[in-house]
Amino acid sequence: MDDSLKIGIYLCTCGGEVEQAVDAGLLAKEASGWPGVTVIHKDASLCSTDGIRKIRGDVEKLGLDRVVIAACSPFFKVEEFSGLGINKYLVGRVNLREQCSRVHRNNPEHATKKAKTMLRGSLEMARHSQPLQPLQLPALKSALVLGGGVAGINASIDIAETGHEVFLIEKSPFLGGRVAGLHRYFPRMCPPSCGLELMFSKLKDNPAIHILTSSEIDSISGPPGNFEIMVRTCPRHIDAERCVLCGKCLEVCPQNAVIYPEGPSFPNAPAINRKLCIEGCDKCAGACPVHAIALDEEEKVSNSKAGALILATGWEPFDPTPLAELGYGRLENVVTGLEFEKIAGKHGAFLRGLKRIAFIQCVGSRDERHLSYCSGVCCMVSIKQAILLKEMEQDTEVYIFYNDIRTPGEYEDLYRKARQAGVIFVKGIPSELKPGDANKINFSVFDTVAGERLELSADLVVLATGMRPSSGIAELGGKIGIALNKNSFVESHLQCYPQDTRRAAVFSAGCCKAPMDVSRSIESAGAAAVKALQFLTGGIEVVPDHSAVNTLKCDVCKRCIEECPFKAYALDEKGFPKADILKCRRCGICMGGCPLAAVSLGELSIVQLSEMIDVFDRSYLDEDEPVILGFLCRNDAYRAADDAGLRGIQYPPNFLGIMVPCAGAVNGAIVAKAISTGIDGILIAGCPDSQCHYIQGSALAKTRLDDISNKLREMYLEPERVRFVAVSRDEPEKFARAVTEYVSELKLLGRNPLRL
């Protein structure tokens, strides 16, 4: 290695905090003899203006090539220590405070020895670090929105109003989605036509929005920021500009092939489904008074380019036919909530004539056989419909049969309003609906609150069915390469990255990611639009710290391609795997999995880890004391270890912690090297499986450690020398306990026979 590098070591005592256990003076003295160390400076507060000025001055005057700062956790003072006049990737951090002095307070002698070992390791890490400069990549200034419901429309408007081009693709001939079929929406109880018309006028007025109805995605190619999308568009056969909505085409059509808009729609003209037409029939074209019909239009395939994608493919209602006992499709006056909206919109008089109407909640919902989840909107939908009925005709008896009423936040007001209006809520679900006299429906229900059985007959029964994702999402997901969750909604890390999918620059909005009501849909559309805009505005700035394959070592086994949770890998023109800089999320799972240790991240390379392990003193505490190397995942375990420091939870100083992006980033060769050069135990701490930010990192780390463990057994070594622990962000006690237990177990095993 290049020994001519000039390295500055800066020790911070954090106002005496570090010196409570670590002898910083001794540390400075020892470190002065290490290779390449040009300057050592001890300070009470490095992060102060004076401290930073001192480092900056040294970098400038002495021409330092690397800087190592031994102070607090690398998660603190990030801003301060990145402006030192040296590329921030050449600055090493040693966590002297949270992971050494504060956790070994009762053992200053050993704490100092550990601090020395940590510092020596970080020096080696810094020596092998590479400077990284951010790259500017071009991103197209356009977005493609899939789905023309409220979520899609709102996302399109939000993006277009910032001056970016938008392609809005809708499968059906009209925009508006499910909301166009509603009579009223809650909580303000206004008609959706009002909101939709406002949205449509914004769409119409904005030249940056290109609307493609009756269209579907054929294929998607290209990297994030530069997607190329083939869109297949079925012809409408009716010129929306000329059409006057006279309805003559609908009257003359013998085949019912004219699709007429039902609610407020855009474009405001019918479409003709040519698949239903009789060969040679052109009655509609003859009947049209404005000559708007062109039956010879052909299917078109167009090519759009977009920097980002937003999925807003929406939902479809659960079909209650399989629930035979409820008689849907068999009994005339049993309808779904969505059908009720249509009746309420067009046949108000019919509803006014009814004496008793029953709503049945949770139809198919929260039922493992159908929809295992709660859609979260059906309660409000039925309450809204019940209030509307009461407002139409005070004397109508309205029953709502429920399991639990879920009306969070402001919606509780409407629940209360419904009760005051005289809607009768019964906790209990009717078991079977039977036909009665005069189209009435008879049923019995056990009221679990009153503890009695009710025998009732109703004129109309409304089934509150849940929401399921659109049926096309599986195929579309396959084309784009995103993952779906167990309920087939678009998967995302709900808390940390709710709008992100598993593909970079592909975002999700509205009901395709989870069941939601109109207001939440619009909210999520805005959020997705902001996320997409981040990608589109001002190009994409990325640091090339993504994983890179060393082609001199790579054997093209393609394990990285298989194991990457984000499908960032593809073979390049020379036939080697290459991670797309934009798709890569820097988890390092490829680095951990490569059988030849040929993959490294920009920030943390195999060489760095290997060199660092080399310089660790195997007997830094004592001949009989075990040395444990810990690989701590950046998102959880490392932070839990920091918390242990902040709270002063003590554990033995036999443990040396190294931060890795994910538990899955630890390569078996690193572990093998550490064991075979005398480290007594390897502890990998990652998130519990369900919390892994990189989906499968922890699970992969476990299986890889199992392989090593088996190998150790074959070698007649103790398989316990490698271990995985799941530590959550908020479990510093568990972390400290795991370390303490491991140290005492290793003491019982005795020293690693491979230690020299």
Binding site: V556, C557, R559, S610, M715
Partner: protein, 108 residues
């Protein structure tokens, strides 16, 4: 004596087309069984006992049966590959264990 693939451990090198043992074998003897997706040696008598496949297998799924000239039944040679080191565990027919760690030039 030929390599022996532990079927439970072998994952066919997830990429499938050509596993690492197939790539590295100088005699082109190792290959994937299309039926099981696991590796096997297609011509046992042609193996030269170089142990390249044993060393490269990322799952540690290949065991070497030591030829009788070197050690009789019960003798074992187990490699463990680090980033720039290799550790050999040698077990003789009496169960005596010896380990040797060497530096390699694999680092970069």
């Amino acid at each position: 004596m030929p390599p022996y693939v532990v079927k439970d451990k072998c994952d066919g090198c997830k990429g499938k087309e050509e596993p690492l043992c197939e790539q590295i074998c100088i005699g082109d003897l190792m290959t994937l069984d299309p039926g099981t997706g696991k590796a096997y040696c297609r011509s046992l008598r042609d193996c030269w006992d170089c142990m390249s496949c044993t060393k490269i297998c990322p799952k540690g799924a290949i065991e070497q049966r030591i030829p009788y000239q070197l050690g009789y039944h019960g003798a074992k040679l187990i490699p463990m590959i680090g980033t720039d080191s290799i550790t050999w565990t040698c077990v003789d027919i009496n169960g005596k264990v010896e380990r040797f760690t060497y530096r390699t030039r694999n680092k970069r």
